[in-house]
């Protein structure tokens, strides 16, 4: 219970009889303001904040320990079932429970979003609640402690100095100031001094907490906007449109993967040419750690593989599709590589497969052949299928397909992330805030000088135990004791 709470209780106790609840029952009217206040109290409660941190930590730990499904795997029913089947072998009967809790996609689960939202609210309330307290500690420190404070403070001690009271006080003030302390005389007791360092240091926590909110905001912005698309760019083929209103195309003129004698990868490099609508172009060797950047769009070297150049015509000979289809998946027996593409105008999906390199003769096709399978609408079974030789047109349903050739493709991740800049702003503020918080801790000491020749200097602080601060304080007071009067050079003793 806070001081404010006690005052509230006291006010209620002193209220006139007319304000009391009627006898025989309790009627309580909870206003929106009351609800807001209670919510605010809950959110600035440190215990609540710690519980939320615990929940977020546990959820993240689940994300590490429980294999997570990618968005693509979860969206595709067959892939999802395969993932869950694997999960059943690991988690047995717990699998449905884990699935229901969203723990296979924990970082996009409602539970995680709720926990992060509560964390953000808790940080916000704590920051709002703490700022006035920090301001008061800086601008209006408590200057006059009780006598008992000097007997009971967590850190306390005394020095005897062979000098009069005024000189000792003056000397203390001077020494403290020379060591970076702010010194304020006690307005109620001329023997007293208050000294502190880094009175503003607590604001480091405000900066750090605010930065955390910025980081959470950056996450939200990054996940809800921008560009995040994988392009399969045929090497030596036609330029591919980047899309998303960028007006850019990207062409790969070469791709080289280098390995050492033991098969360890040494380098992946694509030579990319990016052009805008005005015909301006930029070319670059794009490596894993050297993306091509055009304005706010970045193209990252991500993957590579084999693609099948495919052409599809409708019954009237009109061209429906002509592109390199990346063969992204390998069949279970490893004999074929499979890719797929959509014919949106026909509500159809076509799978294309070729013999995998090094797999020897496939059961269903020879090298230089490709198989096409057509799925129409949501049908679970194929409506048609055909295996064709390279360059030979073949019917597939009411379409005509041509497998033109195999070629390499380079996988280029296209990114534009408006949240990234806020992430860096938040990160810098987080480090700055932490540095201020931990390197500039607010340190306070109350001093009282009693008597003359010798003067007894009592000092006390209720700050937490700090060996370094204790040592510095001891050195400082020892220095005052050694030189009680700088001008006269009198020596004093300490106890």
């Amino acid at each position: 219970m806070t001081v404010g709470d006690r005052e509230a209780v006291s006010t209620a106790d002193d209220a006139p009889p007319a304000a009391a609840a009627p006898s025989g029952g309790t009627v309580s009217e909870v206003t929106v303001g009351d609800l807001f206040r209670r919510a605010y109290q809950l959110f600035y409660s440190k215990i609540f904040g710690l519980w939320v941190i615990l929940v977020v930590t546990v959820l993240m730990l689940c994300g590490v320990l429980i294999g997570q499904a990618s968005a693509g795997t979860w969206a595709d029913p067959a892939s999802r079932e395969g993932f869950l089947s694997d999960a059943r072998t690991r988690f047995g009967g717990f699998t449905p429970v884990l699935e229901a809790l969203g723990l296979f996609r924990v970082f996009t689960s409602p539970l995680f979003y709720v926990a992060i939202t509560l964390l953000a609210l808790s940080i916000m309330a704590c920051t709002v609640h703490r700022t006035p307290v920090l301001w008061r500690a800086w601008r209006e420190p408590r200057l006059h402690p009780s006598d008992r404070f000097f007997d009971n403070a967590r850190l306390r001690g005394s020095v005897t100095i062979d000098a009069d009271e005024a000189t000792t006080r003056q000397n203390l003030e001077k020494t403290l100031r020379s060591r970076g302390f702010r010194v304020i005389p006690d307005p109620r007791d001329e023997r007293g001094l208050y000294a502190d360092r880094f009175a503003w240091g607590g604001f480091g926590t405000v900066v750090a907490h605010t930065s955390f909110l910025i980081i959470i905001g950056a996450f939200v912005l990054s996940s809800s906007s921008g560009i995040d698309e994988m392009l399969s760019v045929p090497v030596g083929g036609e330029p591919v449109e980047v899309g998303h209103g960028t007006g850019l195309t990207v062409e790969a003129t070469s791709f080289v993967a280098t390995y050492n004698d033991e098969g360890r990868p040494l380098d992946y490099v694509s030579h990319l040419i990016v052009r805008d609508e005005a015909g301006t172009e930029v070319a670059q060797d794009t490596r894993v750690n050297a993306p091509l950047v055009w304005g706010g769009v970045r193209l990252h070297q991500n993957s590579f593989g084999i693609a099948a150049d495919v052409r599809v015509q409708d019954a009237s000979g009109g061209l429906l599709y002509a592109a390199s289809v990346p063969l992204l998946w390998r069949s279970d027996d490893g004999s074929t590589m499979i890719g797929r593409f959509y014919l949106s105008g026909h509500d159809a999906e076509v799978l294309v497969a070729t013999a995998a390199s090094g797999a020897g003769r496939s059961a269903s096709m020879e090298a230089g052949e490709a198989s096409f399978v057509l799925y129409v609408g949501d049908a679970a079974s194929a409506s048609d299928g055909v295996t064709v030789a390279q360059g030979t047109p073949a019917p597939l349903g009411d379409l005509t397909v041509v497998f033109e050739r195999e070629r390499e493709y380079t996988g280029i991740l296209v990114r534009h992330d408006p949240g990234a800049v806020w992430m860096w702003v938040g990160s810098v503020l987080l480090v700055v805030g932490m540095t201020i918080t931990f390197a500039c801790r607010h340190r306070r000491v109350w001093i009282r000088v009693c008597g003359s020749s010798p003067a007894r200097v009592r000092f006390a602080s209720n700050d937490k135990k700090d060996l370094v601060f204790e040592r510095r304080l001891a050195e400082l007071l020892g220095s005052v004791a050694e030189h009680p009067d700088v001008t006269s050079g009198n020596q004093g003793g300490t106890s």
């Binding site: 440190k46 904040g49 710690l50 941190i53 615990l54 977020v56 930590t57 993240m60 730990l61 994300g63 590490v64 997570q68 009971n152 403070a153 967590r154 850190l155 306390r156 001690g157 005394s158 990054s222 995040d228 050492n260 360890r264 990868p265 040494l266 380098d267 992946y268 490596r287 894993v288 750690n289 993306p291 990252h300 070297q301 991500n302 991740l413 990114r415 992330d417 990234a420 992430m423 860096w424 990160s427 987080l430 480090v431 932490m434 540095t435 931990f438 937490k464 135990k465 060996l467 370094v468 204790e470 040592r471 304080l473 001891a474 007071l477 020892g478 050694e482 003793g493 300490t494 106890s495």
Partner: protein
């Protein structure tokens, strides 16, 4: 692996031996009689900076001692042994530094690219953090908790393949590799010191070591080490995000290793919040520090079972 690297590897068993010797010396020093007589006979003036109700007499003595100066801390025999302990630790650290420098020179990049190199760097971080703590705070007893971990990790590093492999494309960013893993090394080293302090805090009542500082001192040392761990972990994670943004196109991808690092960060964050704002001291905060270091080890050894983008070998 060339002859230079093979020769440099001899440093590791020597480091192990020196670390164990330092541990034994420190145990003997801490178990020995506190040299009160030497301190009393000193002509130095003392300023009594006592810790109040929360402290015990041993804390008071240590505060007084720090004011009186480190020279009065040990009697000649204890001082000699203590000097040997520090010297052994220092030489072990120098040897590790040389080993790391040789690998750096031979490979052309910071030696942080495989489990062996990171294990050696981890030991280096622990030894440096311990030496700094001993120098700044004068708490030699920390060796009892920190040096066994350093010795264990040295032994572990000696079991791993020390061969030099070229960097895979994702790791070919010398600046960020050095900075990102360098901050991890410092953070993990400081975390080990806070772990040592927490363990010593918890077992303090059962220890019959005559020169052991007060229990409260370990609570504070644990906090001080965590105050180093937390910001350096933060910088390490931020640098990792910068690197991920460059190499993988996104600053955060919930990769198991980066999530484990975030879990570790959250535990230290919870510890600092609990201690600073809720006044959690003593057993509860000591257990949080132990949990934090367990998370550090989990993130470190996770390379063996996490998979994901950080599984470089």
């Amino acid at each position: 692996m060339n002859d230079t690297l093979r020769l440099a590897e001899i440093a590791l068993p020597v480091v192990l031996g020196l670390t164990l010797l330092a541990l034994v010396c420190n145990v003997v020093v801490v178990a020995g009689r506190r040299p009160d007589a030497a301190r009393r006979s000193g002509s130095e003036k003392r300023v009594a900076v006592g810790v109040g109700a929360s402290g015990d007499s041993r804390d008071r003595r240590s505060s007084e001692a720090s004011a009186a100066g480190a020279a009065a801390l040990a009697a000649p025999r204890g001082l000699r042994l203590a000097s040997y302990a520090t010297a052994f630790t220092l030489v072990a650290t120098v040897l590790l530094t040389v080993y790391i420098a040789v690998r750096w020179a031979e490979t052309g990049h910071g030696p942080f690219s495989n489990q062996h190199e990171f294990a050696v760097s981890f030991v280096w971080g622990i030894l440096v953090s311990y030496l700094v703590a001993e120098w700044r705070l004068g708490v030699r007893a920390l060796a009892i908790g920190a040096l066994p971990v350093a010795a264990g990790l040295t032994l572990y590093a000696m079991q791993l393949d020390a061969g030099v492999q070229p960097l895979v494309p994702a790791l070919q960013n010398s600046l960020l590799l050095t900075l990102h893993v360098g901050f991890a090394v410092v953070a993990y080293g400081a975390a080990c010191v806070s772990f040592a302090a927490a363990v010593l805090y918890l077992v303090h009542p059962r220890l019959r070591l005559r020169s052991l500082p007060g229990r409260q001192t370990f609570d504070e040392v644990g906090y001080k080490a965590a105050v180093v761990t937390f910001p350096t972990l933060t910088v390490m994670i931020v640098l990792g995000a910068v690197w991920a943004d460059t190499a993988w196109g996104r600053y955060w991808g919930w990769d198991p290793k980066e999530t484990a690092a975030l879990v570790t960060w959250l535990i230290y964050g919870a510890y600092l919040h609990a201690r600073v704002s809720r006044g959690w001291q003593g057993k509860r905060s000591a257990w949080l520090l132990i949990l934090g270091f367990a998370a550090v080890l989990f993130a470190y050894f996770g390379n063996h079972f996490f998979g994901g983008l950080h599984s470089y070998g």
